[in-house]
Amino acid sequence: MKPRGWKELPIGGIIPEAGNAEEYETGSWRTYKPIFDQEKCIHCLLCWVFCPDSSIIVKDGKVVGIDYDHCKGCGICAHECPPKASAITMKLESECLAEEKGNK
């Protein structure tokens, strides 16, 4: 979203549209990144229940991934994931970035 200038904004700091927090991408805040392993997931949906940023993507009752544009890396999903499954692990964002670079 292109940031708006002062002439285009509603006055008084109000937000007239409902639910536009989605436009505000908070993914860059992360220090740790949740890594989701689809093979291990038992689809109990505890991560979906507990995620404070609605960043667990669910399709047809099954976890299919994580919304990294909004996930702040709090780690609650990994903490709540039952030990027998351990489908989500937290990894340093810097390591992930280094690996991505190495793969290129």
């Binding site: 708006r4 200038g5 002062w6 904004l9 006055i11 008084g12 700091g13 109000i14 937000i15 409902a18």
Partner: protein, 393 residues
């Protein structure tokens, strides 16, 4: 026309408030404002207004309640003084930045400490950058008029800013004067029905009020507040002109007295203007070309109009009823000096601090300031840039 009434400044402001008949008033008593809210509470108790009067537990709560009320589409007013205003501080800024057209009577009183209940402008001057429009009154008539017309400026779609009508504690607030009033119907017609910009109770059109505003948008919202004050520069004279048509009483950003051919000018705010007019008459009778400029609107500061009015004068003395500790002169001096700096025919300028904590400001002290300023004009430079009137050495 309404009646001619004998009213104290506080009663005059309360009478204006009664005639406005605001939807909500939230206030907390503090000397010297108390009498005003006392008078208004009587109108509420007598059923003369429809106002929901909220007796809160502090001024911080008073302004907070006003913000909630104004954001919910209600015409909202309040009043305070000095330490009460200081306790409001945090929310005073939020009222302005939320662009809520709250109107407040500010009965000027010295800020503690040491504790003092009498007049100076240290309270309202401290709030000069809070984003409120500020009017300063010379007498009860002006307190009545400017408070009565204030909602029309505050609520103007191009302005949407809160207005503070400042009048001197005790000197105006507790002195009974003759006040020409308008009828209730005239005031109602003048301000018109309230058309709120936002209404939190309008559940069909929900919005978020008071959200977090970081480095990415805060600056833009502040820029909008600057622009709103620019709009106020245009709207204020329009409303004053409409008011003149109705009341036959003329208001402008400032009033000149013996100003036209004045070589030196005294610039004052508030009740001191009345005393200064007498001093100017005396000096004129001695052939001294002294004039008075009474600043009514301090926010927005009428830079261009002041430049026009003061260019070519030999010297100006600014009388501040407020000290700015560690600053260069009082707040009005420092702004005026800045406004005049760089003009090719700028007058010499000197500042005086006077009347702190209710110290009497008599004709003799004003004459002293004028005589010293005439001397400044003669010498071509002030002997000292900042002086003090009426303090014991």
């Amino acid at each position: 026309m309404g009646e001619r009434l004998a009213l104290s400044g506080n009663e005059a402001a309360a009478y204006a408030m009664k005639q406005i008949n605001p939807d909500v008033v939230a206030a907390y008593p503090i000397t010297p404002q108390t009498e005003m809210m006392h008078a208004f509470a009587q109108y509420v108790a007598d059923g003369e207004v429809d106002t929901e009067m909220v007796n809160v537990e502090s001024e911080h709560s008073a302004m907070s309640a006003c913000i909630g009320s104004a954001a919910s589409g209600a015409r909202t007013m309040t009043a305070t003084s000095a330490n009460g205003f200081a306790l409001m501080w945090e929310v005073v800024y939020i009222a302005a930045s939320s662009r809520l057209p709250i109107c407040m009577a500010l009965v000027n009183r010295a800020l503690s400490g040491p504790i003092n209940i009498h007049c100076d402008h240290s309270d309202s001057m401290g709030g000069r950058d809070a984003g409120w429009i500020q009017f300063y009154c010379e007498n009860a008539q002006e307190a009545y008029d400017l408070f009565a017309l204030s909602p029309k400026i505050a609520e103007h779609p191009d302005v949407q800013l809160p207005v503070m009508v400042c009048y001197d504690g005790f000197i105006i607030s507790h002195t009974v004067e003759m006040v020409d009033s308008l009828t209730d119907a005239q005031v109602q017609k003048f301000i018109g029905p309230y058309q709120p910009r936002i209404d939190l109770l309008d559940y069909k059109n929900p919005f978020t009020f008071g959200p977090l505003d970081f480095h990415d948008y805060y600056f833009e919202h502040k820029r909008q507040q600057v622009e709103a004050m620019e709009h106020a520069h245009k709207v204020i004279p329009q409303v004053f002109a409409e008011f003149e048509k109705l009341s036959k009483r003329k208001y402008s950003f400032f009033e000149g007295y013996q100003l036209e051919d004045a070589e030196i000018v005294l610039l004052v705010l508030g009740s001191t203007a009345g005393t200064a007019k007498v001093a100017v008459d005396e000096l004129r009778s001695q052939g001294k070309k002294v004039g008075l400029l009474k600043l009514t609107v301090f926010r927005p500061f009428p830079v261009k109009k002041l430049q026009q009015a003061l260019s070519g004068r030999r010297a100006v003395a600014v009388l501040d009823r407020c000290a700015s500790f560690g600053g260069f002169g009082g707040p009005v001096f420092s702004e005026l000096r800045s406004a005049l700096f760089g003009l090719s025919d700028a007058p010499l300028i000197r500042g005086y601090i006077y009347g702190l904590g209710g110290r009497d400001m008599g004709i003799a002290l004003i004459r002293q300031a004028a005589e010293e300023t005439l001397e400044t004009a003669k010498k071509g430079q002030p002997t000292e840039e900042i002086g003090y009137l009426g303090v014991r050495e």
